[in-house]
Subunit: 108 residues, 2 copies
Amino acid sequence: MEADAVFKALADASRRDLLDRLFDRNGQTLGELTKGLAMSRQAVTKHLAILEAANLVITLRRGRKKFHYLNPVPIQLIAARWIGKYDEARAAALVDLKRELENDDGQG
Amino acid sequence: MEADAVFKALADASRRDLLDRLFDRNGQTLGELTKGLAMSRQAVTKHLAILEAANLVITLRRGRKKFHYLNPVPIQLIAARWIGKYDEARAAALVDLKRELENDDGQG
DNA sequence: TTGACATGCAACCAAAAGGTTGCATTAATT
DNA sequence: AATTAATGCAACCTTTTGGTTGCATGTCAA
């Protein structure tokens, strides 16, 4: 999996909003997704292409319409591989910092 | 919490690498973090500033040295608030898509 | 106090990101 | 066949991003 593409895709608030809208109602067309956004259809197309390249959105052409479906798998994978790592660090990190703060006359 | 700053901070591979290095050894100085990276000290400074602004890194000046500590809390918060949402969507999303794919003579 | 070490600040630059407009293509409707 | 609807493609523009270099500041050591 291309974790970098997923992180970059998630970095933009408009794209996270698009994912949220697909979460609320899956299988929307480009036109539907554009409605209510303060941005042109072409801009939305670009955002959706980035989401699709990151495999966060799966599309389905039928006739002249293009339906968009949320794919939560890449987010799951990142959560499992990357964030889980930081779970175990939670306690340790703050202890390290606290010790350093208290040890004010340390080996500076 | 500023979720956007966290997402943006995590979008860059160099910054994720810096977090990984702090995970491996917490409390490193700017100079130590710069070593082995194919980039100038000033570039690293900028990356660390972005991580610090996102509250992913906490710094501590002591004399002429600046120590950097990993703060995993913002990542935990995002995992809880944002990714948990997509946990429940996992099954549903693929079912929706599959149904659409099979229903080939649908209301296109 | 002089010199070396660790970091900060600022100007600058190229490339990427996010957006726009205009036109082309494809598919449904009448 | 002509019209309308949904989307694709491409050129263009501005701002942000990621990086550089040069110099300044602060701090430790001799």
